[in-house]
């Protein structure tokens, strides 16, 4: 057993950290305030090849499709300065580009994957609907075959990158078996007639990340745009989310780390009762708990990534990583605000943003309740 990361992975961490601190961190506060991703950072992230991390070179990516640990490290380091950018890149790569690489036909890869991997186009993944969140099988957006085209109708909500994406993966109902819906995943170009972006959400956290409603009115999609075969949508979505959760976990590790670093700095500076607050046991215990929670989350995240890279069944590991990491980030950012006292509520201190940014991770890509359900189901069926 070896816990060390490779020299290449160390370099990826070092450079991503420098890049994130140089270009993303200085504009993070402004982006949060304006609910807008900085266009210059967009350009730079594209140049850095971060939009094609887990995609092979021949499809325009960086070639780290078998190195999910590096992928996690990148998302972690971006998340350490700005959770919004971490989720923008994480979602684009993990639940749009990567599924196209895994499930796509050669034509689909040529047409849709390459522009995603090079960062020419941004991707979004649309599953959630107003009446179907945790119960994803309850989606109502429908697709009906008409000649050589599928006709999509319905609407999706809360799609990350939705309002700025050019390529969407959309889950829609394509049939019924008894009381169960059958669905399929469609690749939809946002230039297609009948598609429109609805409400852009104004949120508590990850404010710079675009979260939008997507509306489909008789959107005609060519037959070739079904991903992974008609009727296989449910299985594909589950697999997509298994992978995606590793990156949500990574985002949380980065965010938690940022909260810890800010807290350590503050605890070593701020004085009350004639000494640094870091000298008080009440603060020390919080720091210790934060450190333990973040390190556990990091190990679980890398373990899930490792299992994925080694062809092992990593679904349970990624659920555990996502659950532990999102709760670690929530706890760490909560403590970080507490350690900062009143200043922690002020916009002048980053921990105010960190605290708001953490919450969503306990919700998207499966709430903590759903993760516990999935994990318990797996464990209860397991023989030890």
């Amino acid at each position: 057993m070896d816990f060390s990361i490779t020299k290449k992975q160390q370099m990826i961490r070092k450079i991503t950290r420098e890049f994130a601190e140089t270009y993303i961190a200085p504009v993070a506060e402004e982006s949060d305030k304006n609910s807008q991703l900085d266009p210059n950072v967009f350009k730079l992230i594209k140049e850095m090849n971060y939009f094609g991390i887990c995609i092979p070179r021949k499809y325009g990516g960086a070639g780290l499709h078998n190195d999910t640990i590096s992928f996690a490290i990148i998302v972690e380091e971006i998340g350490r300065v700005d959770a919004s950018w971490a989720i923008t890149v994480g979602v684009h790569c993990s639940v749009v580009a990567y599924p196209l690489y895994i499930f796509g036909t050669e034509e689909q890869k040529q047409k849709f994957l390459i522009p995603l991997a090079t960062g020419e186009k941004l991707g979004a993944f649309a599953l959630t609907e107003a009446n179907a969140g945790s119960d994803a099988a309850g989606i109502e957006t429908s697709a009906v075959l008409d000649g050589d085209e599928w006709v999509l109708n319905g609407s999706k909500i809360f799609a990350t990158n939705g309002g700025i994406a050019k390529t969407l993966l959309v889950a829609a109902k394509t049939g019924q078996r008894g009381r169960k819906s059958i669905f399929s995943v469609f690749i939809v170009d946002t230039d297609t007639k009948g598609f429109s972006v609805g409400v852009k959400e104004d949120k508590l956290g990850v404010r710079a990340s675009n979260t939008s409603e997507l509306v489909f009115q008789d959107v005609r999609v060519p037959k070739e745009n079904v991903l992974g075969g008609v009727g296989n949508g449910y299985q594909i979505v589950l697999k997509i989310l298994d992978f995606g959760r590793i990156l949500i976990a990574a985002q949380c590790v980065g965010l938690g780390q940022a909260a810890l670093e800010a807290s350590v700095k503050y605890a070593n500076e701020r004085e009350q009762f004639g000494r640094k607050i870091g000298k008080f046991q009440g603060i020390q215990w919080k720091i210790a708990d934060m450190g333990c929670a973040i390190e556990s989350a990091r190990l679980l995240t890398y373990k899930a990534a490792y299992m994925c890279d080694h062809g092992m069944d990593y679904g349970l590991a990624s659920s555990m990583a996502k659950l532990v990491a999102s709760e670690a980030a929530m706890q760490a950012t909560h403590y970080a605000v507490q350690i900062h006292g009143g200043y922690g509520l002020m916009k002048a201190y980053q921990v105010e943003r960190f605290f708001r940014d953490a919450k969503v991770a306990e919700i998207y890509e499966g709430t903590s309740e759903i993760q516990r359900m999935v994990i318990a189901n797996r464990l209860l069926r397991q023989t030890f």
């Binding site: 020299k7 290449k8 370099m11 990826i12 070092k14 450079i15 420098e18 890049f19 140089t22 140049e47 850095m48 090849n49 971060y50 991390i53 070179r57 960086a62 070639g63 780290l64 990148i74």
Partner: protein, 268 residues
């Protein structure tokens, strides 16, 4: 054309701490970085490659862990990297260092096309030693012209025209034929970040070639501690003695203030 870039791995200065009791640098846990101005040298070499076409070769003398600095240079886009490493190179001063670097450059030139023109680029100085001597001494070793403190450079056929800011408030424009050596200032450019593809290639497609005393056929009297004309006797943190007063204002005002202080201290 070949462009050689000489880089040094140094302790990241922002993090360097000094043990107050022993007065020594604490190196443990301090991350190593490419000497900051050397990154500008690499950037310049890459720009020359992009504009003129050239093979960019990075050289570093140092312990095996300096390979990391060379990998980073490769990730930025450098074509080849050589690490001059040997126990016998240890303790080298600027003279022994430039001798060793010159051997490597000559060796590489011997193995390539005859009379291929070349340019050597060094950063002005390293943040740990701060001597600014290796560049000029290397030019002497190679017996080629040098332009130091370069803040801008232009190619004209076989020649380069460089702006040197050697003296404060004064820019000298100089021209020389290649081969030549220049040392550059930070002002010359903004170094690029290695892309993800660059990093992956640096580890999977490119290599760092190790060169030791034997491969360089080095004269043992000229390398390492033995070859050094200067030796570090002691590194210490200067003790602050007494108080410092900084005077400001016009010369007249400052003189007046100074006299007053001297009177107060009963010196005048």
């Amino acid at each position: 054309m070949k462009v050689f870039v000489c880089i040094k791995q140094v302790p990241g200065v922002a993090e360097v701490k000094i043990d107050v009791t022993t007065g020594k640098l604490i190196r443990e846990g301090v991350p190593s970085i490419i000497n900051p101005v050397d990154k500008h040298a690499i950037e310049l070499a890459l720009q020359i490659k992009e504009e003129q076409g050239a093979e960019v070769i990075a050289l570093s003398m140092g312990p095996p862990q300096a390979e990391e600095a060379l990998r980073e240079a490769l990730a930025m886009g450098v074509d080849k990297a050589y690490l001059l490493t040997d126990k016998e190179f240890a303790g080298a001063d600027t003279l022994a260092t430039s001798y060793t670097l010159a051997l490597a450059i000559r060796k590489i030139l011997q193995e390539s096309e005859k009379n291929e023109k070349y340019l050597v680029i060094c950063g002005l100085q390293a943040i740990d030693g701060d001597t600014a001597q290796v560049g000029p001494e290397l030019a002497e070793e190679l017996n080629i012209p040098q332009i130091t403190y370069v803040q801008k450079i232009e190619f004209k056929g076989d020649k380069i025209i460089a702006e040197s800011a050697l003296r404060q408030d004064e820019v000298m424009v100089m021209e020389t034929r290649l081969p030549a050596l220049i040392t550059v200032l930070k002002e010359i450019n903004i170094p690029r970040f290695p892309t993800l593809i660059g990093i992956v290639d640096a580890y999977e497609k490119k290599e760092v070639v190790y060169l030791d005393t034997r491969q360089l056929n080095a004269d043992k009297r000229k390398i390492g501690l033995t070859g050094s004309q200067t030796q570090v006797w002691k590194i210490f943190v200067p003790q602050q003695k007494g108080e410092h007063i900084k005077l400001s204002g016009s010369v007249k005002e400052m003189v007046k203030q100074l006299c007053q202080y001297l009177k107060e201290d009963k010196i005048l």
